[in-house]
Subunit: 195 residues, 4 copies
């Protein structure tokens, strides 16, 4: 039986993504053994994070600059007729890292959860953004998983009334993939998009 | 120490693809314990395989029919202007399973091994087939791995003098893939081939 | 669709331990591509295995010697008052490899399958062996898994009427194990058998 | 490129045990999206942890009670002639969970790192504790890994001059283990400690 302040923090760390009780346990003992100045550095960074980070009201990406919009939404050189809808922040980063996309983004904040039939995604904010904007294409860049697919269908239906063209990411073999283990859909797409 | 006839067969099974000594060991004791009629069924199937299976001289796919060419090469309804080069039999099966490809095939029999600089692939047979044929496109359908890529470059160079267009399978996110973990090349291709 | 002689052998290889359809598939193409002399070597080794290997009527270990009993049962220097009951041949080999055991063996041929309530183990042969023998201790050396435990309880009950002492392997931390992940039973045993 | 306050915290979380940059990334966005009251609960728990947790000067286990020693060291019903040396806090918890040990503990704080030849373990504190105490047995309960073994040898040598008997945890098959995959040392110990 651990002391209550240890157990409490184990419980809170257990809610972090990918973390189970055993790892949460290790986190707490890591903190206990951290030298005072390292501990304070971590504590101050957590406080600083909450103080400095704002959420962009236009795309919902977090940013720290002293401005109303995030650097991407504020950047006049970006193509304002192209909108890329992603599930989460890390997906936006992945697409930025390709250096091939120059349009705007919108972070949906999740996918439709089929089991619970919850729609805790920013669908109203997305519609508002499309209504206000001047988009010619909305790229729905969600994961090609069951939930991503379901959400893509849903978004296509919701975006349609605005008269804006929607598109999806192309499917195919990823770097390192193998034909032998590819599913027929992936392979069909790879054949069709050959070049 | 196992008896010699057991050890000998463990050694031979260890050369099977994906099989190590411990699994080979289990195979041998599986055989020893197999009832006589099951054992004979397996033995006869192995002998039968060797007797009935021929290798198609045109595409190198194994087949059992009493004919000179395999069913795909003999099928007059298939598009004889399209050639798909694959590494191995299972890759051909994967593409057939998509039901989206109606051209011919060629089984290369391997990839260029970068380390040993061996080229134990059917490059001369491929050139001969292209020379004899009437192809308008050669789809180089190798795995997007380092060795597959190197072999693709090599084949493109070798096919070029014949004046036939070459193509590669499209890259993109596979079913079940995630943007967050996709490499930039895969994601760039997925963006470009969006639809 | 593969030719029938290929599909038949894929099905038979799929019944090998640890082998699924995809691996069975690779085995068959490995055989098809095997040079004639290598193929014949394998075929002859399989036939030879069946011809030369006998099952020892006393311990059920396979052996090849021209004798009535296997080398271990025939070895007069071994301790005939000690019997070690194992599940399968590979377990006997593991114990022989420790070079610490000088008694006799008995291969049970399986464990009690809790779900199907089948008892396809050599319980009658074991009782007969104990009745005929002069054992002072029967070591029940089954895996400390649920099925191994259930079978151990069963054997202890069946052996009891013969008035022979039974024992089980000691539990503890294996080489490379970690206290943090050890279950309480294992750790209790490790504490009790400390030295 | 993330804002600096995000990147800084990603770097700090990456130093947590088992955490790489990608998981650290997810932790930070988890924090950003946490509702204010949940965020404050976490922050306060971290501060509370540092305020309430002391390290027992006798066994080096963290504790929260308002006392000089931890509950185990303060417990008069525990056997003060028995000392169990463990590497870390979680190992102590594992042994407590067996409910079979009634002696005292000592947390060594690590193992000897063979590569760097550093000895950042509490060896002087251990010697001092043994000198001051009245122990009849020191159980060296380190992991049976290479580093744990090396540290065990080292501790045995260092404890010897105090005239106290040392012991190690017994080896054997763990719950769920298999004879076929057990190393000869583990199996030899399991045979010897049979019962």
């Amino acid at each position: 039986m651990y002391p209550q302040s240890i157990q409490k923090l184990i419980d809170l760390f257990s809610k972090f993504p990918t973390v189970g009780p055993r790892t949460a346990n290790r986190f707490v003992f890591y903190l206990i053994k951290l030298p005072r100045e390292k501990f304070d550095e971590l504590l101050n960074s957590i406080i600083e994070l909450r103080k400095t980070i704002k959420i962009c009201p236009s795309c919902f990406n977090p940013f720290a600059e002293n401005a109303d919009l995030c650097p991407i939404c504020s950047d006049n050189s970006r193509d304002k007729t192209l909108l890329c809808v992603v599930e989460k922040e890390a997906d936006l980063e992945s697409i930025e890292n390709t250096k091939k996309y120059q349009g705007l983004y919108f972070i949906l904040g999740g996918t439709i959860n089929l089991k619970k039939d919850e729609r805790n995604i920013r669908i109203n904010e997305l519609k508002e953004k499309i209504k206000q904007g001047n988009f010619q294409e909305v790229i729905i860049a969600l994961n090609p998983t069951t939930e991503g697919e379901a959400t893509t269908f849903y978004l296509e239906r919701e975006v349609k009334p605005f008269g804006v063209r929607t598109s999806r990411l192309g499917r195919g073999l990823p770097v390192g993939g193998e034909l032998e283990y590819a599913d027929p859909d992936t392979l069909s797409s790879a054949l069709e998009s050959r070049k």
